[in-house]
Amino acid sequence: MSVQVKDFKSDLKPIWCPGCGDFGVLQAMYRALSAVGRPPHEIAFVSGIGCSSRIPGYTTAYGFNTVHGRALPIAQGIKLSRPDLLVVAAGGDGDGFSIGGGHVPHAIRRNPDITYIVMDNHIYGLTKGQLSPTSSRGLATASSVYGSLEDPVNPLLYVLAYGARFVAQSTPADMPGLAAVIEEAIRFPGFAFVNVQSPCITYGQPEAQLKQHKAEMVPVASVGHNPANRLAAMALAQEYGKVLYTGVLYRDPDPGPTFEQAVAERHRAQAGSTSRAQVLDVFTVR
């Protein structure tokens, strides 16, 4: 039974501003999920808080719009207890690299088969235009009227440095490319990170909107990049904020076991050796 794009569209109307990049991410999600072919009820789509974190509600998957920054721990609890599910986590750059930044390295090192999509707009949109962790130095916002005094986080370098096995970047300006990297991320057997440059039409920089993305983006294939080379990927990642590279920056050619595969291995070794009714036997003194 094949699934179509329409099977993933929910009845809810997005609250996003007209022209928001997140519409494109949603379209790409529909395409990627229908291409992967799992029915919506076998998918858990988890998000944090922010404009972009509304995304699960616009799909027909089991959605969980959690609290700010905690999509990854909750997604891991789902995946570990139900490895049969397809689990996707999503959120904004504040969710993933500010309030929830501490969870990212641990998801990476555990390597659950979860796809994590960050919609990176360099601004806090839902609270109406404050600095985000990826805002550039000097950026004047509602919370930095004289300009930011801080350097931005580099999400690509961050996850590569922690050992992420799949790292991609794209933009809704390249819909086929975005849908393709999300699909590839979902199909990747392990933790996969996709940074989507998803501009904020309302509070973002006018010179960094989809039109400019379309003109400026550089597919990694066009510079002869080998995605099996982590150091080469890190060299491209260094250009974050300067060059908009799109495509798969890194894909581990030997991705190793996922967390849930290791759990299954543990269960094969341990499970079934006792029953719940016997649980107090360990306390019995004879």
Binding site: G63, R70, G77
Partner: protein
């Protein structure tokens, strides 16, 4: 003698705690009831340590009061545990002859007997090793007080057998040497422990566990298959036990990167259809508050254990306190009610943990299990638990018919709506921390928000009428009452019995359900009450104040509260009860407890 309390202290490496564990294991094997509490200095490794062990031929509820037998391997270390190891004129005091106490050390107390035993000398001479001092002491106790020489020897063989023939032989020699010394140097008038069983009696074997292990085992029994947590004293043993046992039952244990993630993963597992638990202590509880709120609004079952320690902030990690009650009840933004349950002993931790899971699943709510360091970390010998008498509740899942037009947060008569889980066709919905309508779609409607609050809070109303919410004992019509919870409940229970012997008829209410307050049960209990005490280990008297919010308390019911790390003795509660009884006889309502406000 039917009840014997032994205390022992020494330096790091003296094996004091291991001697305590040998004793309680032998006691359990011999059919005695017992409670073992351990206490340590602040050092990570080494440093002074102590235990106190109460053994009895009948069930015990407290670690005992003044020591019957005190053993100091080292006088300075013994003094460091002065509050935990009190002695008086009936105590038999044994110390290692190589460290004689200064005469001033007794500070006004004259023990019944003071015995200088050459403990280290015996260990060195016969075992060739100072490290066998603790085993020499076991030999002394076996002969002087009749404590289970065979059981101790069996225990030694189990414990040291794994460490090689040489280590075992050394300890067997030390044990026998201790016994021989005791036989050659009898203590005049030393009472010996009565046998626990009549000849020929072979009851079912006893259980030996601490409260944390018991909590973890109960979680497995209740069907928990996911645990997310983070190490923190004094709750870590819950995660450690599950890390060993839960895998065997097909479950998963995640040591998370922080307290929030541990709770978050458990919330995720619950969303995915599994029974899930997280556990922590004070500071971790502050962090978990976020996930507890999420579980409340998303209506996801979750058990969150808080093994209380002294606070606030880092507070006193190794000392027990009951000062997290306000936090358990009130720490949340927004309107919510979540059930708070408290176990009163190691054995009771089993039943209360199972109940916590049942309530969580039945009402689709987070439940806080408010244990304390005393219960969590003390070892108790208890009667075998018949697990067949417990029923296990599963969450209400949608029927195939309900899945045809599924509405996750449907308004129902009970307020509980069928809950689907990923994988169920037709059951997909949006769970969220944002206010939502019946379908789960986000809403900013005040009217819907009010109805959803009413649903989420109203669905818990039947809990207040739960028969297991409180346990009442004593004289049903007594005018004098005690109310106590958690580890203090055991002390109150013992105080009630002692007061009876002094001619004071009183009764006791112990709440298992701390919140929501079972108002009817309190009203029934208090109908005959003119005076009494709410006894608890917090500076503010948190339960007393909470009750004042919800229950019409008699004027004569006051608070008897003190900060953690200062245990209550049954005798001091008895004294208060006697005073109350005398005041009532003089026909006036007494002023009791600490002043409030």
């Amino acid at each position: 003698m039917r009840d014997l309390t032994i205390g022992m202290a020494g330096a790091g490496g003296d094996g004091v705690v291991s001697a305590g564990e040998s004793l309680i294991t032998a006691a359990a094997a011999g059919g005695y009831y017992g409670i073992l509490t351990k206490s340590f200095g602040p050092q990570i490794r080494g440093g002074e340590s102590s235990f106190r062990l109460r053994m009895s031929t009948s069930p015990v509820h407290t670690p005992g009061g003044v020591l019957d037998v005190a053993i100091a391997l080292n006088w300075d270390d013994f003094l460091r545990f002065g509050a935990e190891l009190p002695i008086d004129g009936h105590t038999i005091f044994i110390y290692d002859a190589q460290y004689p106490p200064a005469p001033s050390a007794w500070s006004g107390v004259t023990p019944a007997e003071v015995i200088a035993a050459p403990i280290a000398a015996i260990a060195r001479e016969l075992a060739g090793h100072d490290g066998a001092k603790n085993t020499v002491v076991l030999g002394l106790l076996a002969e002087w007080f009749g404590i289970l020489p065979d059981g101790l020897l069996t225990g030694l063989r189990k414990r040291f057998g794994k460490k090689g023939a040489e280590v075992l032989a050394r300890n067997e020699r030390a044990f026998e040497a201790g016994r021989r010394y005791a036989i050659e140097h009898p203590i005049a008038g030393a009472a010996r422990l009565d046998p626990a069983r009549r000849p020929g009696e072979t009851p079912a074997p006893m259980l030996l566990a601490d409260g944390n292990e018991m909590c973890a085992a109960a979680a497995i029994f209740a069907g928990c298959t996911f645990f997310g947590g983070y190490p923190i004293t004094p709750s870590t043993e819950i995660m450690q036990f599950l890390g060993r046992e839960l895998w065997k039952h097909g479950g998963v244990v995640l040591q998370a990167e922080d307290e929030i993630a541990g709770a978050g993963a458990a919330v995720g597992a619950s969303f995915a259809g599994r029974k899930a638990m997280t556990a922590t202590s004070g500071p971790g509880m502050s962090l978990k508050t976020e996930m507890l709120g999420l579980a409340s609004i998303a209506e996801l079952p979750l058990v969150c254990v808080n093994v209380q320690r002294g606070g606030p902030a880092t507070g006193m990690p190794t000392k027990s306190e009951q000062a997290d009650l306000f936090q358990a009840v009130f720490s949340a933004h927004g309107d919510l009610v979540r059930p708070v349950l408290a176990p009163t002993s190691v054995a009771d931790t089993f039943a209360t943990t199972v109940e916590a899971f049942n309530i969580a699943e039945q009402y689709q709510t987070p439940v806080i299990l408010l244990s304390d360091g005393e219960i969590g970390q003390r070892k108790e010998v208890v009667d075998p638990i018949d697990t067949r008498r417990f029923s296990i509740v599963e969450r209400r899942r949608p029927s195939p018919r309900e899945l045809e037009s599924y509405v996750r947060y449907a308004f129902t008569e009970t307020g509980v709506s069928p809950i689907s889980e990923p994988g169920m066709a037709g059951g997909a919905y949006l769970a969220s921390g944002i206010e939502h309508n019946e379908q789960g779609a986000p809403t900013a409607s005040g009217a819907l928000h009010a109805r959803m609050n009413a649903k989420r809070i109203g669905k818990l109303e039947p809990l207040a009428r739960w028969p297991g919410a409180v346990t009442v004992s004593g004289e049903p019509d007594a005018p004098i009452a005690l109310i106590a919870w958690g580890s203090v409940a055991g002390v109150a229970r013992e105080a009630l019995r002692l007061a009876e012997r002094r001619g004071v008829h009183a009764k006791l209410l112990v709440p298992t359900l701390l919140y929501p307050i079972p108002q009817g049960a309190y009203a029934d209990f208090l109908a005959s009450v003119r005076a009494g005490l709410v006894v608890e280990q917090s500076h503010q008297g948190q339960l007393y104040r909470l009750l004042r919010m919800f229950v019409d308390l008699p004027d004569g019911l006051g608070s008897f509260a003190r900060s953690g790390a200062n245990p209550f003795a049954p005798t001091e509660i008895v004294e208060r009860l006697v005073e109350l009884a005398q005041a009532l006889q003089r026909a006036r309502v007494p002023e009791v407890g600490v002043a409030i406000d």
